[in-house]
């Protein structure tokens, strides 16, 4: 049972930290360890036993799915902790547990010692097991297929929101349970805003249009960006786009086990700097992806890539008032190198919608 293997790894890590167990309150981490993804679920993990604490709405589902856990209803977390023998040292998640919940716990707990430990599960989750890779791969394929299906609709006159709604519908029609995150469709000058809020602007000739979107499939997300151009690109359009293209392709190609995230990030930045646009590449190169759309590992200093990592590689150039380009794939680090999970056509020069190669 995959979830129990993950629990075993978690227990091992906890014991390395000097903890006897843990209280897990983050929804994604509870789902990772149990397969249960209801909105109300907390774990109490102790030597020899593990509890999933939830409420009546989820009783049947929890019992069915969370094998190896004692499903507990109608008790407070403190009650469950008080049932544990001895004086267990329990780690909690300071980046997820709210201050008010900690206060309640501390008021109710009698013998256990509660201590904050950050990022323990986040670090474990950074290395995906084969089951997870398969799900992210499907989420990536859904995004690719939806992107292909959208191409005929990308014509002057259509609004950003219309395109984003179609993209969402196309992903759901292909089995996505939802979108990975709110899609960004940024046209013309809006493409110069990295996190533009998709709006009512109608696309027209001369626009770069950036599409940043992903699918949610069985709890896992993909993330990709493509930028198309409508009409005849100028020399500047070509220069900006191609710099982003080369930065994306060349930095992603470096990713392999043992390679440093800082080197990869610097590579992308160097290429864009050489083209003269370093000042306009205003964000990091990428981020881990999995159950959360932003998770470990980072793509920068402090990361040494390992097999099982899944990250985005997404450089961009943003010229306020004029336009911008971002190109992004979700990349999987294999035992010997890496490969993109999102494989939509990625032209090297500004291209109209529907371009398959070039």
């Amino acid at each position: 049972m995959r979830t129990l293997l993950r629990l075993a790894k978690f227990r091992q890590r906890l014991s390395e930290l000097g903890a006897d167990g843990a209280i897990v309150t983050s929804r994604e981490n509870v789902a990772y360890l149990t397969g249960f993804s209801g909105s109300a679920g907390t774990l109490v993990i102790a030597p020899g036993r593990a509890y999933l604490v939830t409420d009546g709405r989820y009783e049947i589902r929890a019992r069915e799915v969370a094998k190896g856990y004692r499903v507990t209803l109608g008790k407070s977390l403190a009650d469950v902790v008080n049932e544990l023998p001895g004086r267990p040292r329990l780690a909690y998640e300071p980046t997820h547990l709210t201050d008010s919940r900690l206060s309640e716990l501390q008021a109710g707990v009698r013998r256990a010692e509660l201590r904050p430990e950050s990022r323990v599960l986040e670090e474990i989750r950074a290395v995906k097991d084969p089951d997870e890779i398969a799900l992210i791969e499907r989420a990536a394929a859904i995004a690719d297929e939806a992107w292909a299906a959208l191409q005929p609709s990308i014509v002057p006159g259509v609004t950003e929101v219309e395109l984003s709604n179609q993209l969402e519908a196309a992903m759901k029609a292909r089995g996505a349970s939802g979108v990975g995150f709110d899609s960004i469709v940024a046209s013309g000058p809006n493409s110069a805003i990295p996190h533009h809020e998709t709006g009512d602007r109608r696309i027209r000739e001369g626009d770069f249009i950036t599409f940043d979107f992903g699918a949610l499939y069985k709890g896992y997300r993909s993330d990709m960006t493509r930028t198309v151009f409508i009409g005849e690109p100028t020399e500047k359009h070509r220069e900006v786009y191609n710099a982003v293209y080369r930065a994306q392709v060349d930095s992603a190609a470096m990713i392999a086990p043992g390679v440093s995230g800082e080197d990869v990030a610097n590579k992308a930045r160097e290429i864009i700097k050489e083209a003269g646009y370093d000042k306009y590449f205003t964000h990091g190169l990428g981020h881990g992806v999995g159950r959360d759309v932003h998770e470990l590992p980072g793509v920068g200093r402090g990361t040494i890539f390992e097999p099982g990592h899944v990250v985005t590689v997404e450089p961009g150039i943003y010229l306020e008032g004029w336009g911008g380009v971002r190109i992004e794939d979700t990349v999987f680090v294999t035992r010997s190198g890496s490969r993109p999970l999102t494989t939509s056509p990625k032209p090297a020069w500004p291209s109209p919608p529907g371009t398959v190669d070039g």
């Binding site: 709405r57 547990l97 709210t98 008010s100 709604n165 519908a169």
Partner: protein, 359 residues
């Protein structure tokens, strides 16, 4: 929306807590107080000033889509609240909604503001949000109208072969088409899946003999609707009829028990006793209802809460029998001095019907 009134009410609460400033981190409370709907940012309020502190991703939204707050933009990935409090000269006591602030964030604030007493105030804005004003009721009524209309429209599609996922998609599409700002969740649970109160739609296709339990809603102007109706596809068994009629009677009894001053316990009892008397007490294992607005918030229809005029609540009893299926019937409405004014007008037949049978 009357943001001025809401900020004033929060300032009154601040005075009551003897604090000179407040930090609001809960997303629904922030939207309630100034209209900001971004997923990152905090409201920092003093007696004189109101700042919406966020990062560059939301600069445009903070400027154009808020009312009554000054957008203050900081670097991405940084903890911006202590800096804002310092710049505002926030004083020695600052309240914060501790039910929305993680331990990690609080530690960062404590380290950055050694002279400040950070006063935990869980649910800081809840008492203000609990009583809906006319604008809010209008928005919720419109959200409910959209949901009601879509419930009628979907009847023709609840047929053998239709999958849960497809029906859920259609509910989302139709609500958007009818002017919803966003679709909410959609639970479409057919046959044995209807025994799960919070089933997530799957690719299971509806079959003759199935209960089809549909719990869905949309967002209009920031406010939520929430409706559950259950139908049968094809011939119903005696047992299915019995279960449905029991839930129906319980739902009516629950609504009838609502009035300003009623406790969550009393209203729950009124519905639950109907179900218990019919012998299904063990099969109704969740609370009777919850408060709702921009998100779910108190008062809920459970022990420990008292209802007051202006609260928006759901009344949603259910019976869930593993292997057979389940029924839930839910309305969303406003508590009045003397009763419950439902905002849900979707037909609520007293007897188990096939899709659209009442049309």
């Amino acid at each position: 929306m009357n943001y001025v009134r809401r900020l004033k009410a929060l300032r009154a609460r601040m005075a009551g807590l003897a604090v000179q400033a407040a930090v609001v981190a809960r997303r629904d409370a922030i939207r309630y107080l100034c209209g900001f709907a971004g997923s990152f940012g905090d409201l920092v309020l003093t007696e004189e000033q109101a700042w919406l502190v966020t990062d560059g991703r939301y600069a445009t939204a903070a400027k154009n889509r808020t009312v009554g707050v000054t957008p203050v933009i900081g670097g991405q990935g940084l903890e911006l609240v202590p800096g804002a409090l310092r710049e505002l000269g926030a004083g020695s006591r600052v309240a914060y909604d501790s039910d929305a602030v993680t331990v990690a964030r609080l530690h960062e604030w404590e380290a950055a503001l050694p002279g400040t007493e950070l006063v935990p105030a869980p649910g800081l804005v809840d008492p203000i949000m609990a009583v809906k004003d006319d604008d809010e009721i209008r928005a919720m009524a419109e959200a409910c109208r959209i949901t009601d209309r879509v419930w009628e429209e979907i009847q023709g599609e609840i047929v053998p072969g239709a999958t849960e996922v497809r029906l859920a998609q259609r509910l989302a599409e139709l609500q958007l088409e009818h002017g919803a700002e966003a679709h909410g969740f959609a639970i479409v649970a057919s046959g044995p899946n209807s025994a799960y109160p919070h089933h997530v739609p799957t690719s299971r296709a509806v079959k003759a003999g199935d209960f089809v339990k549909v719990d869905f809603g949309c967002v209009y102007d920031g406010y939520n609707s929430d409706l559950t109706r259950t139908v049968v596809v094809g011939e119903a068994t005696e047992r299915q009829r019995e279960v449905y009629e029991t839930v129906y009677r319980a739902q009516i009894a629950g609504c009838a028990a609502v009035h300003s001053g009623a406790t969550g316990e009393e209203v729950d009892r009124a519905a639950r006793s109907v179900i218990e008397e019919a012998g299904f007490g063990e099969q109704f294992n969740h609370g009777l209802g919850h408060g709702l607005g921009i998100a779910k918030h108190p008062p809920h229809v459970r022990p420990g809460y008292v209802l007051a005029a202006g609260n928006a609540i759901t009344i949603e009893p259910g019976i869930y029998i593993e292997g057979l299926g389940g029924v839930r019937i839910e309305d969303l409405g406003i508590v009045t001095e003397t009763g419950f004014r439902s905002l849900s007008y979707a037909p609520k037949p007293p007897k188990l019907c096939q899709p659209g049978e009442w049309q």
